[in-house]
Symmetry: C2
Amino acid sequence: MTDAALAENAAGETELLTPEEFESAIRAVGAERYHNKHIFHKMLHGGQMNKGQVQAWALNRYCYQDAVPRKDAALMARTDDRELRREWISRIHDHDGLGQEPGGIERWLILTDGLGLDRALVMSKKAALPATRFAVEAYVRYVTEQPLTVAVASSLTELFAPGIHRERIAGMLENYSFISDDVMAYFKRRLTQAPKDADFALAYIKQHAKTRAEQDACIEAVKFKCNVLWAQLDALHLAYVQGMIPPGAFVPTA
Amino acid sequence: MTDAALAENAAGETELLTPEEFESAIRAVGAERYHNKHIFHKMLHGGQMNKGQVQAWALNRYCYQDAVPRKDAALMARTDDRELRREWISRIHDHDGLGQEPGGIERWLILTDGLGLDRALVMSKKAALPATRFAVEAYVRYVTEQPLTVAVASSLTELFAPGIHRERIAGMLENYSFISDDVMAYFKRRLTQAPKDADFALAYIKQHAKTRAEQDACIEAVKFKCNVLWAQLDALHLAYVQGMIPPGAFVPTA
């Protein structure tokens, strides 16, 4: 079976995928739908954005960062599997920080500080595009409402993240005078965090998706999550590349 | 106080608005943010769309129709005010139908039938833009989670609906050979349903929003709802006017 055929989530197929086929089908979703394929990311990494457009991206993407620990807490709230919670909690530590470690959301705010954005404005989320918040909150709801294994699977876009983060670090440092090494700290940290988390989640769904229907639902979950990411870039593109900023949203002055 | 100043939801203002000021502030939100201001609607009503674009609009907008009775049931589920439920239930009748009356969703499907779309595809919602579904479901969640008076207020875009429906009926019948009188039945019916509902909701919030903070939250609710509608047209515009159709979404052949 080709990756594409697997990713098609063949309705009516009942034969269980082997772990290798299952993983291939999930990776095929990323190859087709992960947001590194979006023109906005190509422009962002390629130095084709002005500072105002990079600000808009960082301000909107903050809403996603802000949702991640809530999403992870929602997942933990649903399971009596203490081992799963003990593993999953590190994701909350990564974003919220723990003890002396300030965490990924703070590192994101260092990025928005570095771009000259007002922290209170960023943290209020009020200047973000409504479409950003609709997409991000859909992800929180998905993890709250879907079967647990499917909720775990929706995190698996992390399989595709290190590539985009490496591209981003290199591309943004090279192309933008207003981006310095220290403000890219968020992405550097994610280079090591994301693969660890993805390995765990992949092993988890291989073990817990016991029917073809459950496997297919996990593959759909990765599509859903790709849609969440893609929709955010679509909204940024229309507003800040095409210039159709919706009423009330951030208007760059930089 | 000007309408614009009222609509700004002046932070820190504590003086209660008079019922007239309150209503003016809500109407000012519509004047600025209702989706009849969106370029996509101007193009749709002005005959500047091809059949594939009108199909994409109708297929996506189905997701909104589909969500409305769930949203209304969510509101009814939250109140022990029997009179409110007895009034509000007519909204569910309007969309789902009752007895011999097939209801608004069925009338919407007559529109999509008339446009040559497969009913099963439309009803599956699978070919809709992810952004459409994120926006629509955000509305259902909003009504589920916000204070009851604020949830009622979020329906008040109906104050602005008859104007757009009149424009739409005239504009679409005049401009598109593939739109016939009978497929516009949905909008004709809404010309009388929407004002009745809006009058009730407006009277309700005037009576129940007893503090300035509650009044401001109601004004915000109308902004939120305008954002839900606007984001749907933004997504349609990028996909079907700019041609950036996201992976997996409806691709017109007409």
